[in-house]
Subunit: 357 residues, 2 copies
């Protein structure tokens, strides 16, 4: 099992990771204190945290919080990328929180063989895709590094950079001397993104991330402590498997559902998905299915279903009352409905409504 | 002899340095092509260059150029610091060139045990001292990193950073892994300062510097080449000795003339100066003085005198017709007159006139 911000390999033992990283589990006690539990926390997709209990306690006492949810822009954004933003949108609806969305086209340029202009274009396109989920322009700010750099953000990066030695950064990120100096400096910029709402608006920050990104949060928390700022909290998610069952949905996977995939492409990809079903229909009816092994189950439960529906479907699957073909049909329809609506919403997004001075 | 951007040690052999660094001397051929020669080039204080001949040739053909002259802000600015800006001011008067003045309080903060706010204050104070020399607000722009960071400048730094590997930066600047990541990134920011007028206004850039800063110029030229921008040109100066004869005038020297030194302090410092004069008045009259050994001679010739006057004074000194006490009196009066006028001019500077959007 290998897990760093740049690599995820092997079968995940989430309990081991939580222990190793020093995270806490989101347990019933914590859920009980929330008036309304966002769907992706309720279903256990986001399952671990740092200081999320503090954020919720303070919120109950009237202290608003901000969510920071950034993105390294990429050419093709896929369903897997949108999941975290679905959660963020739901949390904005429930808690009214300010959402800060940085787009690190600078880091993409440093890390990849890609032009800077191209990375900026991706930022704008990705922002449009994310904002199409329906964020409140009054409470949502996008920040594209190449377009919106300002003294406030730069100065947080400067203060953070002074607290980060080259040794520390090399240890966390594994950068080599052959890499460019931009890549080595970027952790300061990322920390600045995370701390921006705290510095600019005095709001405590919550960062929802995939658990593989935890080292970034640890670094940002260390630096925040040294800068005498409130440490950012996090909620951390499992990985979503690819439709073929292995690894996480990735930009390179043939089985990845991109936002610009048409109904036929989606149909093909879902039809070819791995389900963990039995060899024959007969066996499936007799022995029942194993939803815990099924990637379709994850997409349905995390992205589309409400809790009761998931429970019901899984029960039927285990008893052999529902076949994989039916689930594929349901998921395919849900995906295509979502993608169609999303493409429509996308046209109406006015990026400038989400940019602050 | 040791010469890096952070250290200057031993007796300087300027011809050796010029050869080693691959610089060209500013020779009579080049001077002959200039309609008017700025005083500090005429007197040989600025004596070496890279591509200054190209800048002058193109200027004759109608191509304007910009000067970039930045400063790492410090608490007490001294006469030695102002010298380069006297040249820049004269060149603005002669050639009408645009002057871009970056103040790197970020780098000061990275490199020294100093607060960021303090470094910003120094930037503002230093800017005031420099602008008091009479720069044209229409053709002069100051840029304090902590106050004026913008996407244009940041994006040049990003593009430069991608072209600079950590190995290169470590080799040029000698940074260690114990140093913070801000210090390691700063060369990209400095390159951005140097290339700003080229990117923003399409102007070729000339950078006047002390010859110990040449490694910065070499790095910036390499990066400019890789970015397909016109390489910045430079003119490079000798060191000015301290009044006690050793090293260069420094912020720590007891013999350093600070801009806030009153007449009595200046008098004391000049009275105690080393002159290279003979042991007794009698010997001085008989054998004559040695102006080439005398720090007073440097300050008089570089800062205060016109060419004819310098020649005359040196002649008299060599013949024993003028004693060190007289020179001390002249220099002391010149310095005090300059400092008095400068303090008056300083009050009238409106920083905001020199800030662009």
């Amino acid at each position: 099992m290998k897990i760093t911000p740049y690599e995820v390999e092997g079968q995940m033992d989430y309990n081991k990771i939580v222990k190793k990283f020093g995270l806490s589990l989101i347990n019933k006690g914590l859920l009980g204190k929330m008036d309304k539990v966002p769907r992706m926390i309720e279903n256990g997709y986001f399952f671990a945290h740092r200081d999320f209990d503090r954020i919720m306690q303070d919120y109950k006492k009237g202290q608003d919080f901000a969510i920071v949810s950034g993105r390294g822009p990429s050419q093709n954004i896929h369903l897997g990328h949108l999941i975290v933003y679905k959660l963020v949108k739901e949390m904005q609806d429930i808690f009214g929180c300010y959402v800060f969305m940085p787009f690190s086209d600078d880091e993409k340029f440093f890390a990849k063989d890609i032009g800077y202009k191209k990375a900026q274009e991706y930022s704008l396109e990705n922002a449009r895709d994310i904002l199409a989920l329906g964020f409140d322009p009054k409470k949502t700010e996008i920040f594209i590094d190449s377009m919106h750099m300002n003294p406030t953000l730069y100065n947080i990066a400067v203060r953070a950079a002074k607290k980060l030695t080259m040794s520390t950064v090399k240890a966390i990120y594994g950068f080599k001397n052959e890499h460019n100096i931009g890549l080595h400096f970027y952790p300061a910029m990322q920390t600045a993104h995370i701390l921006y709402p705290t510095v600019k608006k005095g709001l405590p920050v919550l960062v929802p991330i995939g658990i593989d990104q935890d080292p970034h949060i640890r670094a940002a928390r260390d630096v925040a402590f040294k800068m005498r700022l409130k440490k950012p909290a996090s909620i951390e998610s499992r990985f979503l498997p690819s439709l073929s069952g292995g690894g996480k949905m990735s930009a390179s996977g043939m089985d990845t559902i991109y936002l610009n995939n048409g109904p036929k492409t989606v149909k093909n990809k879902v039809q070819n998905a791995f389900t963990g079903g039995r060899d024959t229909l007969g066996e499936q009816k007799q022995e029942g299915g194993e939803p815990e092994k099924c990637p379709l189950d994850k997409y349905m439960s995390v992205f589309f279903e409400q809790e009761g529906k998931t429970r019901k479907r899984r029960g039927k699957c285990r008893k052999g009352e529902i076949m994989c073909g039916e689930c594929k049909n349901i998921l395919m329809k849900d995906m295509n409905r979502f993608l169609k609506e999303h493409r429509k919403a996308r046209q109406k997004v006015k990026i400038e409504d989400f940019v602050r001075d």
